[in-house]
């Protein structure tokens, strides 16, 4: 997968797109300082190999605004990330920047060899940057350097524009199909018969979760073909609801495919094992599983419990040990959080099925605030923004969140880069209709997000249309 590189020259292009051509020449001051800092850091690591580093402290005591400082940081990180991986792997850990300080997810700091501190200051009319590098191996500072550059007022102004210049690009809807009403969740999973045969249409199976059944489809001749239907019989107690909600969770473990379904109309979620085309119910749990995650080398089925009959989850995250295909209720972990509408657990990039460590947890609380928990389950302060009730993360690299919109015709998808537990808004795209849920998944050879969209342009329920869209990045490979 290609990375997005915001080099200085690309940034200038952004500026020109935004109509700030007048300021083009002034942007050089900050850009030059960024280049100096980058060169200084890369120079230190020039004779080193296999180093992993991250900026873990970034403070702004200059007269740059928070936005401008954040942009300085982004350009610097892009520059550092472009270095050869054999020499240096730079990881972006920033989750937020406000009030002149960056907030970093330091949960995975043990994976780093070097830590970088950066401080911006104002020195007369100049912008200065102090850089310090700390070696975790040697347990001491190994590099301290100060750089400065003349920065004009115009330069500052240019850096102060909002930094999401290409937010309309990147992700796009690659396909759309009609969907039935009452679809609760949708997931894709690699077809066990074709495991390893990636890149072909029949590589995946597509699971449609409805209140009373799970429909499984495969892709044949560029269209969905129903493969199997599993009828769900919930039994008592049953809580009738006005708005049905539910989550489907799929993961492979020990050569078997595990499928769990939870809902707001039954207090128990059901877990099945599918092996050799046989469905076997192996357990019923009192929470709705969302994902299998790994914490400290142990696998946990992570989820939360719907408040009965309502459209949100209760205030507790549940992590139930999953050992050798069995659940261990006695050693379950619980973590208090505000009650919330949606959640997803992000694991390391490229690894699903719980074999990768938990990196971050993303949720939208009942006041529509986005909240971020690091892999240690502790909440980190992030920029307070209102978002819609749907979100999902995939491949440990991207997070998609819907908009805080009450307009029945308009919604938006925000795409955040979340690699290594960071969080940075990169793209935003308008969508027609309202996102009911977002789910990570695949279509053909691409990975991305499935979005269940409701269109109700006349605001009359009988004319509502439902679509399932697949969103992926154009330049992803």
């Amino acid at each position: 997968m290609k990375k997005i590189v915001f080099s200085g020259s690309i940034f200038l292009l952004i500026i020109s797109f935004l109509g700030h051509v007048d300021h083009l020449c002034y942007a050089r001051g900050v850009d030059e300082l960024t280049r100096k800092v980058s060169d200084g850091i890369l120079g230190y690591f020039a004779d080193k190999t296999n180093t992993r580093t991250a900026i873990v402290k970034f403070e702004n005591f200059s007269d740059l605004s928070d936005q401008a400082a954040q942009k300085f940081y982004q350009v610097l990180v892009s520059s550092l990330e472009s270095s050869p991986p054999s020499q240096l792997v730079h990881i972006d850990l920033m989750v937020n920047f406000q009030k002149k300080r960056g907030e970093f997810n330091l949960n995975r700091i043990d994976r780093l060899n070097y830590l970088i501190y950066i401080k911006l200051i104002k020195h007369r009319d100049k912008l200065g940057a102090g850089v310090a590098i700390f070696s975790r191996t040697l347990d001491k500072l190994v590099y301290i350097q100060y750089f400065e550059e003349n920065v004009s007022a115009g330069d500052r102004e240019v850096y102060d524009v909002r930094d999401y210049g290409f937010k309309g690009t990147g992700f796009s809807s690659l396909m759309e199909i009609d969907a039935d009403k009452n679809l609760l969740d949708f997931k894709t999973v690699i077809n066990p018969d074709n495991a390893g045969n990636t890149g072909k249409a029949e590589t995946y199976r597509y699971f449609f979760y409805y209140p009373d059944k799970i429909d499984i489809f495969v892709m044949e001749d560029n269209s969905f073909k129903k493969f199997f239907t599993y009828q769900l019989d919930w039994g008592r107690p049953y809580f009738p609801v006005l708005n049905k909600e539910g989550r489907l969770c799929l993961f492979y473990h020990d050569n078997g495919l595990y499928i769990s379904v939870g809902s707001n109309f039954s207090p128990l979620a059901r877990i099945f094992r599918l092996k050799d085309n046989l469905w076997k119910e192996i357990a019923a749990v009192d929470f709705t599983p969302i994902k299998l995650v790994r914490i400290n080398q142990n696998d946990y089925l992570a989820g939360a419990r719907y408040d009965e009959g309502k459209n949100f989850f209760r205030e507790t995250l549940v992590l139930m040990p999953f050992v050798s295909g069995e659940l261990d209720n006695t050693n379950r972990l619980e973590k208090r959080v505000p009650s919330f509408y949606s959640i997803d657990f992000s694991t390391a990039r490229g690894e699903e099925n719980g074999e990768a460590p938990l990196e971050s947890i993303h949720l939208i609380d009942r006041d529509y605030n986005y909240r971020f928990l690091a892999g240690d389950l502790e909440e980190r302060a992030v920029e307070p923004v209102k978002r819609g009730s749907s979100l999902a993360a995939f491949d440990g690299s991207w997070l998609a969140v819907s908009d805080y919109s009450t307009d029945v015709d308009k919604d938006k998808l925000y795409f955040y880069k979340i690699e290594e537990g960071s969080k940075r808004l990169v793209y935003e795209n308008p969508i027609r209709g309202q996102a009911v849920f977002i789910s990570p998944g695949a279509w053909k050879d691409r990975r991305g997000f499935w979005v269940y969209v409701k269109r109700n342009e006349g605001n009359r329920e009988e004319y509502a249309e439902y679509r399932l869209q697949f969103w992926s990045k154009k330049n992803d490979e």
Partner: protein, 472 residues
């Protein structure tokens, strides 16, 4: 014409509330109503009808636009030739205690309804031959073809009952009752229509300046409240169930209560239904105070009053004391009234009947005869009612009104009922409450009712102050 008319029940379309911003669950609303005598289903006035609609689920709802909806049945099928109505019960429904709502519950509820002394029960008793159950189906065999059978099953009094006290089928269940002050209701998590958006309803009985919802006379024009006028009015009658009352005494009690009504600013009623529709206006001459006092001073009259009129208790006591008339008042719940009458005579009875102006005049008169004549319902009345039924199908308004007039005349001349006063109602709700609609019978449907988190109710501090003041 198709032999078999299959009609799919229209479900309450609330799924439309799914947006990126979800409908808000939570909050408690206050509603001002009259205090019920108990939680057993005994609706006798408009306020009671609203109250019990919170606790008990109807078989069907008749919406204001004429749609019939049900939270109990998946669908129903009426076979005209076989004269059979099949109701298909939804699966896994439960009462508030988690016990199943099954076909047995439906049959029992229907049976209890048929035993009620209300007009629709009378009608259904004549139509329904027998019921049977089969898996999740309740099969109702009819005596004769009745295409409006399902419309009859929308009667507000036809609710799902468990047969036991303290078990409810409606949206809420009571969790706290402080007599003369309030009843607090919590959501029934098994409610067949789906858990309500509200986390609770506090039904208050004391004067509290701004509850979130209340019933009051139409046209208040309060900018903070929305008015829903369903055309509901409530008539209060003085009845003489035993019929062994002298004309003097009858008129004396009538005159006394008319005086009382005027003293508390109630609208006098000079017709059996309402001024707007009645072809006959009654001219009942009231006796003078001196005459009334002379007749009633040593008469030891016991006036029985239905419990739904308990709101007048205090004012009536003061009024009687001032007038120096020793009238004994006894308040009785509707459900014990009839049992009581079987064992002991009731000569004077103050009772209430709720009407909707959309219901035709002849239907109202039929209700009055059937529901308030008690053991005075004789062959003459039955004959006149049958004639009225026949005239109804002649589409001749003049003839119909003539029959209605004759019936009214007989009711008044026989002296089993005298109209006293009338109260008209609108339903008011604060503008911060969303998703409100009234059904055909003027009852607010609470299922889609929710607080708007964007515009919260007025500050609660004032409410507490008002509560404290009211309590004092």
């Amino acid at each position: 014409m198709s032999k078999r008319a299959k009609i799919i029940v229209i479900f309450v379309a609330l799924a439309g509330l799914i947006f990126a911003i979800k409908p808000y669950y939570g909050g408690e609303v206050t509603i001002h109503l009259n205090e019920p005598a108990n939680f057993n289903y005994t609706p006798s006035d408009y306020s009671n009808l609203v109250f019990y609609s919170l606790l008990y689920e109807n078989f069907f709802y008749l919406k204001a636009n004429g749609d019939i909806v049900s939270n109990i049945f998946d669908n129903y099928t009426y076979d005209k030739d076989q004269r059979v109505l099949v109701l298909e019960l939804k699966e896994d429904l439960s009462f508030s205690n988690g016990s199943p709502i099954d076909t047995g519950s439906v049959v029992l509820s229907l049976k209890l309804f048929l035993n009620l002394k209300v007009e629709t029960s009378f009608k259904l008793r004549r139509i329904i031959k027998r019921t049977q159950t089969e898996k999740n189906k309740v099969i109702i065999h009819l005596m004769y073809d009745s295409t409006d059978i399902v419309s009859l099953l929308t009667a507000p009094e036809l609710v799902i009952l468990s047969g036991s006290d303290g078990i409810f089928s409606g949206m809420f269940q009571p969790v706290e009752w402080e007599r003369n002050r309030y009843i607090r209701l919590a959501p029934n998590k098994y409610y067949p229509g789906g858990r309500t958006y509200l986390d609770g309803v506090k039904v208050i009985f004391y004067d509290f300046y701004y509850p979130d919802m209340f019933l009051s006379k139409p046209g208040l024009n309060d900018s903070e409240f929305l008015e829903f006028n369903a055309g509901i009015y409530q008539n209060i009658y003085l009845g003489f169930p035993q019929g062994k009352v002298s004309t003097n005494k009858r008129l004396a009690v009538y005159s006394l209560l008319r005086d009382f009504a005027e003293s508390v600013d109630m609208t006098p009623l000079n017709v059996l239904t309402s001024d707007e529709e009645s072809p006959v206006t009654l001219n009942i001459k009231s006796l003078s105070y001196q005459r009334v006092r002379a007749i009633l001073r040593r008469s030891r009259i016991q006036l029985y009053i239905v419990a739904s009129l308990k709101e007048i208790e205090e004012k009536l006591e003061v009024f009687l004391e001032k007038r120096g008339i020793p009238l004994e008042t006894i308040y009785m719940n509707d459900n014990v009234l009839r049992d009581f009458m079987n064992n002991a005579p009731i000569q004077y009875l103050l009772m209430v009947k709720v009407f909707n102006k959309r219901i035709p005049l002849e239907e109202k008169i039929k209700r009055i005869v059937k529901e308030m004549s008690f053991n005075r319902l004789d062959e003459d009345y039955l004959k006149m009612l049958n004639e009225l039924e026949e005239v109804k199908f002649l589409n001749n308004d003049e003839l119909l009104y003539d029959h209605v007039s004759r019936l009214i005349e007989k009711i008044v001349n026989d002296g089993f009922l005298l109209p006293l006063f009338q109260k008209k109602y609108s339903f008011y709700t604060g503008k911060w409450i969303k998703g409100i609609e009234l059904d055909y019978y003027g009852r607010p449907l609470f299922q889609g009712m929710r607080l708007d988190p964007m515009s919260r109710p007025r500050p609660k501090a004032g409410e507490n102050a008002a509560e404290t003041a009211a309590a004092k």
